[in-house]
């Protein structure tokens, strides 16, 4: 049985929507136990109002929580018993197997980073995000590509980028059921020598891996095209790219609203396109994806969108369950060990040549 810890107080619509999502997940996942962390009195009032399985949802009291706009380090220092800290603690102590939160991203990542250990061979954890693209991928026809790191850390070495590629690929294989996800490095050109030194070195290393389906470098415009299933970059660049992509999407929506108000002909055009727009919305609905993972630790952490409703939370819990059932962390550790072994063999053989 997999125990999934849910930060019930994190998110714009917490605790109501988070509890509702977790309650629905308890009915859908028969071999999981859901541990809601938060104010026990509040959660105890909410749960009985919802359909759930009382033998599979339990409450762990946490008297405080981190607000969405609080500074992560300061908030965690001021509130050691905040729900996200208690939730991360539960997993660290072995009382839970995975964590889901829709709360303050910085505080969530920090709470995990301070309490959890990195997988053997992983030097840095990476926060991934999903982005809707033109192409579908995997057995599930998944329209989302994975971008990592989008802000767990600022910069990354070549080895870190290789690690991110391994983690992203393992995640895409399991969650999107994509047998051989295409992995690419984000750079300012598709040529192997393009980009900063760490990207060039990472390219050299990734080209030699047989475990990954590395397709080389891609440029920013290739992300929405869906050229790669896993886009690897440093936290700083990833965060800038993600925010820009989100900004562009919001602007398109705003322009459509403007057009809708401004001219009758434009309005009619939008009405004619409405079914296609609805279909597109359905395909690219982030709520069905559930959340994005923090990869590299010994336990999966799924960061649901701050605006998550019950459906998104339920799907985030399902993703966490799938990550546990498919042994995501074990798969990452195994691939990292294989890469490490090959690197060591290469070093030894080079030493032999030099010695000879």
């Amino acid at each position: 049985m997999h125990r999934i810890v849910v930060d019930a107080m994190g998110g714009d619509h917490a605790p109501d929507e988070v509890v509702r999502g977790a309650a629905e997940a308890s009915l859908a996942l028969t071999n999981a136990e859901i541990i809601l962390v938060g104010d026990a009195a509040v959660l105890g009032r909410l749960l009985p109002r919802m359909r759930h399985d009382g033998a599979r949802v339990r409450v762990h009291h946490a008297p405080a929580f981190v607000e969405m706009d609080e500074k992560p380090a300061e908030a965690l220092a001021a509130k050691p018993e905040a729900s996200i800290a208690v939730a991360a603690d539960l997993v660290a102590r072995g009382e839970g197997d995975a964590l889901v939160s829709a709360g303050n991203t910085g505080a969530s990542v920090l709470a995990c980073a301070r309490r959890w250990t990195l997988l053997t061979g992983v030097r840095r954890a990476a926060l991934a995000a999903v982005y809707p693209t033109e192409l579908r991928r995997g057995e599930k026809d998944d329209p989302f590509s994975l971008i990592l790191d989008v802000g767990a850390t600022i910069d990354a070495t070549a080895e870190d980028l290789v690690g991110f590629a391994v983690m992203g690929s393992a995640y895409a294989k399991l969650i999107s059921q994509n047998r051989r996800p295409r992995v690419a490095l984000l750079s300012n050109g598709t040529e192997a020598g393009k980009g900063p030194p760490e990207v060039v070195r990472a390219h050299e290393q990734l080209v030699e891996t047989t475990e990954l389906n590395f397709i080389g470098n891609i440029e920013g415009l290739d992300i929405p095209r869906g050229v790669a299933d896993v886009v690897v970059t440093s936290g700083f660049v990833g965060n800038v790219v993600l925010k820009m992509l989100e900004g562009v999407s919001e602007t398109v929506v705003r322009l459509a609203r403007y057009a809708h108000k401004e001219r009758l002909a434009w309005r009619l055009g939008l009405v004619a396109l409405s079914s296609a727009i609805d279909q597109l919305k359905e395909v690219t609905d982030w709520q069905q994806y559930g959340g994005a993972p923090l990869l590299g630790f010994t336990h999966p952490f799924i960061k649901a969108h701050g605006r998550s409703n019950a459906r998104a939370v339920q799907n985030a819990v399902k993703v966490a369950h799938k990550a546990l059932a498919g042994n995501l962390c074990g798969n990452i550790a195994r691939t990292m060990a294989e890469l490490d072994e090959r690197a060591q063999r290469r070093t030894t053989s080079q030493g032999d040549v030099v010695g000879a």
Binding site: M1, R3, L27, E33, D39, A40, A41, G44, R45, L47, P48, R49, M50, R51, H52, D53, G54, A55, R56, V57, R58, V59, H60, H61, P63
Partner: protein, 373 residues
């Protein structure tokens, strides 16, 4: 030989539902039982699907061995039968299923004193199609009739969230407590679309039933996982439970079951493979959170269960961890709640049964329109 042949038409009649078996009555000089436990069967004791015609057909052709009881229900029924208590089963299943259902209960080792089934063949032959689905006009008279024959001082009722069990049980409890007038009952029966003669019979039984505040507890098995809060209006005497370990915990607090009997319910649930120790511990936390069992009772139970375990209640169970470890996991679930105080169960206010029946009808029709049975 002649006697067996002469009884044959009666047995065939009972089998096809033309005759009802005689209602058991107390023999002269026989003492009243301490308690009567009334059980529904489908979705309460037996895991039954009848949300579609396919489910109904499957349920009708299943053998006794195919039928599945909910984990813990058999152990609970056996425990309740002890001390000369009375088990009465009132089910909406058709009389034609008596043999297979009786065989299932026999297979499970469940003894009972009364077993009432719905004579749907009679309803069809008389063209009374409304009665096929009607619950109140069928179950209420059956329960009243049973109580007239054997008026135990205390009664506990077990039903589920699929039909109108909560309404019927509360109506029965209030009726025998003298809190529902015959005029109100008549209005409820009209709202329930009861046929005139059925309503007349029910009113007659209500006039004759010995009055007492006998119903002390009602359990609703949340087979459909309905939100427990939906049952709050029925007051603290009605407890919605997700599983029979929770029912056993409440009955332990009510001093109906001993710690040892609660252990047996738990063991049956573990043996079913559908529950692990963690589920049972979480079930304890759930009933405490809902204010149905106190922390003190739960902790006292772990102490008494530890004593029972030491005296051999768990002997031969090498598959389980040491009891002290089990007890600690249960205590941990209680501690997890921090210092929060469980909400007070709602104080029962007089129920408007006519409105409840109307709402239930509307709900049932909505579900049918949505294709959910």
């Amino acid at each position: 030989m002649f006697r067996r042949i002469s009884k044959l038409p009666v047995r065939i009649g009972e089998r096809i539902g033309l005759f009802e078996p005689a209602t058991p009555q107390l023999a002269p000089g026989e003492r009243l039982p301490k308690r009567t436990f009334r059980w529904d069967l489908d979705k309460t004791y037996l895991r039954t699907e009848f949300d579609s015609l396919k489910d109904l057909a499957k349920s009708a052709i299943e053998t006794a061995a195919d039928k599945q009881a909910y984990p813990g229900a058999t152990a609970l029924l056996r425990a309740l039968r002890q001390d000369g208590n009375r088990i009465c089963i009132v089910s909406g299943s058709p009389t034609q299923m008596r043999q297979v259902l009786a065989a299932k209960l026999a297979l499970d080792g469940v003894e009972y004193d009364e077993f009432v089934l719905k004579n749907n063949l009679k309803n069809i032959l008389r063209g009374r199609f409304r009665a096929l689905r009607a619950q109140i006009p069928y179950k209420l008279p059956a329960m009243l009739s049973s109580r007239i024959n054997v008026p135990a001082p205390s009664e506990m009722l077990f039903g589920d969230d699929a039909e109108a069990d909560a309404i019927i049980y509360c109506l029965y409890a209030d009726l025998i407590a003298g809190e529902v007038s015959l005029t109100d009952l008549e209005r409820v029966l009209i709202a329930s679309r009861a046929y005139d003669d059925d309503a007349e019979r029910c009113l007659d039984l209500a006039r004759r039933v010995p009055q007492a505040k006998a119903v002390t507890r009602m359990f609703i098995h949340l087979d459909r996982r309905s939100p427990p809060m939906g049952f709050r209006r029925f007051g603290p005497r009605l407890v919605p439970v997700f599983n029979y370990f929770q029912a056993a915990l409440v009955l332990y607090e009510d001093q109906v079951l001993t710690a040892r009997q609660v252990i047996f319910v738990a063991l049956e649930m573990l043996d079913s493979g559908q529950f692990a120790l963690g589920h049972l511990a979480t079930s304890v936390q759930d009933v405490i959170r809902r204010g149905r069992v106190t922390r003190e009772s739960a902790l006292r139970l772990t102490e008494e269960a530890a004593e029972a375990a030491r005296s051999g209640a768990l002997s031969g169970r090498s598959d389980l961890p040491p009891f002290e470890k089990i007890a600690e996991s249960f205590r941990e679930r209680v501690r997890e709640l921090g210092g929060t105080v469980a909400p007070e169960p709602a104080v029962a206010e007089p129920l408007d049964y006519v409105r409840l029946v109307d709402e239930e009808h509307e709900h049932r029709h909505r579900r049918r329109r949505q294709g959910m049975g």
